[in-house]
Subunit: 233 residues, 2 copies
DNA sequence: TATATAAGTTAGACTAATCTAACAAATTTT
DNA sequence: AAAATTTGTTAGATTAGTCTAACTTATATA
């Protein structure tokens, strides 16, 4: 049985090694930053996780999940996203409120609870932020998503997820008129400060690169199954 | 903010001082027994809870909740029972499975979650075991319930709750054909070993005093609002 | 009332998860 | 390649919650 804390380490490690960057490994500082603890603390835990055969790790080297570790991480992520979906769909929580509560709910230990919740929600594939929900086997739909900042001017795309789950960011997303599955067109990207002009439902907004880095989209050609390297920078 | 452990102490203290016995105080050993820890451990925690003004307590004396402590305990109990109701009504959990999972869920910190869950369940007044669910203000319906072992022969009654929430006991209850809101008649109580004969839906069963001690009922006369002391031993 | 038993307390130790401060290794820059 | 910077490690301390073993106080009983 894994502790609350161990679960968080595995989940974070999984997120760091599964997102768009294609990285397979993570570092001590990076992990510390995401977990909100000091690198020294992470170092102690790495020894424990290694000893439990949940990670591969050598002194001064990079950290990678083992098969067992990955499975455990996927289970936590699955629970997190199912709970987010529950809160959003059944309990009228708003987009920006679900994450904080799901951080707690994801650690409830009961296989039956997860399975029944999944069924109750009718086996959802994506959570309210557009993230893939692993199924009972740990599998999930792969979608070639890129950040809005990677799009080229003139292309259209569909927002599918956000990278930042913090309330202030999500509130800003709503302000701009965006949301999961909303379509938009990239009108221009300024060469000097990378300010991006987008059009959503006929309304034109200007957003920063920082903002665009946190919005995941699928470009129009990808949706039509054309190879992606040609239209995403 | 209270810790997981502190919440458990307050909840247990509340349960020990609110049930049918009319006691207002508890002891160190008693608390240790119910929490599954050693008396020494309880003693340490009592100092902490006293310092936080959640209990009234003097060395070698009895333990009582303060107003603040009682309120906190009621909140945990409310969450526990709401979650039990959710698991039973919405996720198809059986009677004997809900308690263990609710022990974990009761510690989730989110006022909004509790309120929304309460609403989602349509403000239930009793949980699947028949226990009263405190409302948002900490109030709950009072019912004059007695144990089945307190009934007199010849009287009829309605089962409203169980005292023991363990799976083996609850499975036994089902075996006998009993359940919440089932009516039964006490046919006889044997003077030697207190074996009780009851009739449920025309079926006659014999149960031990130990069993009957864990079944809460409301007697027929009480249901008709006649004073209780005349018909319950 | 003297004594036996039950109930409660204390001291000292352990574990998990964290910290700070100092140190070591690896990487990047000039 | 030397210096500077970043990244990672170690040692020692802290806190919460738990334990055991020995002790003290209160209560019940002969």
């Amino acid at each position: 049985m894994l502790s609350f804390t161990e679960e968080n380490y595995l989940k974070t490690l999984l997120k760091l090694t599964m997102d768009e960057r294609g990285k397979e490994e993570a570092g001590t500082n990076e992990l510390a930053l995401h977990l909100g603890v000091k690198p020294a603390t992470v170092n102690d835990m790495l020894k424990k996780l290694k000893q439990k055969k949940l990670i591969q790790y050598e002194k001064y080297g990079k950290i990678a999940l083992t098969k067992t570790g990955r499975k455990a991480g996927l289970e936590v992520l699955r629970k997190h996203r199912l709970w987010e979906t529950f809160l959003y769909e059944k309990l009228e929580f708003s987009w920006d409120e679900v994450h904080q509560v799901a951080e707690q709910l994801e650690h409830i230990q009961s296989q039956k609870l997860v399975d029944k919740l999944d069924k109750f929600l009718d086996y959802p594939e994506f959570d309210p932020h557009g993230d893939e929900i692993p199924n009972a086997k740990g599998e999930f739909k792969y979608r070639h998503k890129v950040t809005l900042s990677q799009m080229e001017a003139g292309k259209s795309c569909k927002m599918v997820a956000v990278k930042d789950n913090s309330a202030p960011f999500l509130q800003y997303v709503i302000e701009v008129g965006l949301g999961i599955n909303n379509h938009m067109k990239v009108l221009s990207i300024h060469p000097y400060d990378e300010i991006i002009q987008i059009e959503v439902n006929g309304k034109v907004s200007s957003v920063s690169k920082k903002f665009a880095d946190n919005i995941f989209v699928i470009c129009e050609d990808c949706m039509k199954n054309k190879p992606c390297k040609f239209h995403c920078k």
